[in-house]
């Protein structure tokens, strides 16, 4: 009886222990599984929140790069986006001035268009489960100080829809970007579009004034009905050089004075910008125009005089040539204004760090000696 009682108790303990062990095992298993399940869900949620955050950061970065590339492309094409419209051009660059006519591009609008194009190329290249759309509009606004651009891309909201999570954020991306692009265009505008007379014309006028060439010349000569002195002879007698040499002198002086103009602009804006005025030899032209009056004298008398020896005293008649000389010059200059304060990673065949360089042509002078094409 006692042995049965002991055996039953042992059995009871064994059963209890087995139940406890099994219960413990399943409890541990269930708890661990629940922990793992919760952790996995939590990690998933964190990853998805992070994915939205990464996308937003990437859209901001894409907007930065789009603006950098847009600045490089638009400035490189004189303020235009791929096609030069409503302005004459030379060597695939626009003229901002052809003598009295000016052609200032709507460069901010062109910056907006180019930035939007590139930004949408970026948004399409970002592969993600998050619902995003291309930007429908993009604005570039200049800060009061001109040193910052507020670039805003307007898009539909960003959406992430998952079983455990729904995230919706504004799709509008705004970046405040430090830039010299507005000042860069403004240097070109103030000096070559708004200034009258423009610096190239002023250079030509100063060159003529400083050349020492005379504006008026007279030459008297003895009666000779067979031969009048030419305008060129009057000019040479007046200025001590042939017209061709005077034209060469003017051309040479214009070249030197454009170099001086370049140095003055460098001094004025040298802190931020490197300004270069370049041209080839055919881009500088000069011309001397003569307007002469020849006094007719008495040709009969002169003829008679010529037949006699000692002619000049025979009739006492002299001819006189009175000339006015006009000097003209014109120059076509490629103006390059480079922002030397910063380099940007931009594409131009390869991607590299490059300065933003604004290029445009100006042709001016006191006569249209160079065609604006």
């Amino acid at each position: 009886m006692k042995g049965v009682s002991t055996a039953l108790m042992v059995l009871l303990v064994v059963i209890l222990s087995v139940i406890t062990a099994i219960g413990t095992y399943f409890f541990i298993l269930a708890s661990n599984l629940e922990n793992v399940r919760r952790s996995t869900i939590e990690r998933g949620i964190v990853a998805e929140i992070n994915e939205v955050e990464f996308l937003k950061q990437n859209l901001h970065q894409a907007l930065d790069y789009s603006f950098y590339q847009s600045k490089y492309d638009v400035a490189g094409l004189g303020g235009y986006n791929k096609i030069i419209t409503n302005a004459p051009k030379h060597n695939n660059l626009p003229y901002w001035r052809t003598y009295g006519d000016t052609f200032m591009p709507q460069y901010i609008g062109n910056l907006e268009d180019r930035t939007l194009e590139i930004y949408n190329i970026y948004t399409n290249s970002i592969k993600t489960d998050i619902i995003k759309s291309e930007a429908s509009e993009l604005t570039v606004e200049k800060s009061a100080s001109s040193t910052y651009a507020s670039v805003t891309a307007f898009s539909d909201p960003i959406k992430l829809e998952k079983p455990n999570l729904t995230i919706e954020e504004s799709g509008t991306i705004k970046e405040i970007i430090q830039t010299n692009i507005f000042d860069q265009f403004n240097v070109g505008k103030v000096n070559f579009v708004d200034t009258n007379p423009d610096p190239i014309l002023q250079t030509v006028l100063d060159t003529i004034t400083d050349s020492g060439l005379e504006g008026i010349g007279t030459l008297t000569y003895h009666c000779n009905p067979d031969r009048y002195p030419t305008d060129e002879e009057v000019f040479e007698d007046t200025n001590g050089m042939p017209i061709g040499d005077a034209e060469y002198l003017i051309k040479d002086l214009i070249k030197n004075n454009i170099a001086d103009l370049e140095n003055n602009l460098k001094l004025k804006y040298g802190l931020n910008f490197d300004i270069h005025l370049s041209f080839i030899d055919d881009d500088i032209q000069s011309e001397v125009e003569t307007l002469c009056k020849h006094s007719s004298g008495d040709s009969d008398c002169c003829y008679k005089c010529y037949d006699d020896a000692g002619a000049e005293y025979c009739c006492g008649t002299w001819y006189e040539s009175f000339c006015k000389f006009h000097y003209f010059g014109a120059a076509r200059v490629l103006v390059s204004i480079t922002d030397k304060t910063k380099t940007y990673a931009v594409y131009d065949g390869t991607t590299d760090l490059r300065n933003i360089k604004l290029n445009f042509y100006v042709v001016s002078g006191n006569k249209e000696l160079i065609n604006s094409n």
Partner: protein, 144 residues
């Protein structure tokens, strides 16, 4: 004697039952705690590596975003420019083993270990019509 022996057996069994009940109570608690600790550590380190990657996308250096510097470094190949990041990463990642890789090119390779925690994201590259994005990965592991 027999009566005393039965009492002793009962006492032993009682003790065994108590011990069994104690173990039954303690073991799951200890196991769940251990498991929770492991999960918490994993969670922490996983979030840490995610946070590190997010930090790289958020901070600036010399008025330039670090993600921009990384992208330029990858595109233009100027490895020395990222040295300033090392103390930041050492502090952020809290381990002496981490690798930052962009398209299989290691920008940072500190310590050798098996990768345990990984975070990756799309990295925007400077404009190039042929290649605009690349994957950036931050790997960390426990150094032995």
């Amino acid at each position: 004697m027999v009566k005393g022996q039965a009492g002793f057996e009962l006492l032993i069994m009682g003790v065994m039952v108590v011990v069994a009940m104690f173990i039954a109570g303690l073991l799951p608690t200890a196991s769940v705690k251990t498991n929770l600790d492991k999960e918490a550590i994993f969670e922490y380190k996983y979030n840490k590596v995610q946070h590190t990657l997010l930090t790289l996308f958020s901070i600036t250096h010399d008025e330039k975003k670090v993600s921009e510097l990384i992208a330029e470094n990858f595109t233009i190949n100027k490895p020395s420019d990222l040295e300033f990041l090392k103390p930041i990463l050492d502090k952020e990642i809290e381990t002496k083993c981490y690798h930052i890789v962009v398209d299989s090119k290691a920008l940072f390779f500190v310590g050798g270990c098996d990768v345990k925690y990984r975070a990756n994201a799309t990295l925007i590259l400077p404009y190039n019509p042929n290649k605009l994005v690349e994957e950036i990965t931050v790997d960390t592991g426990d150094i032995s």
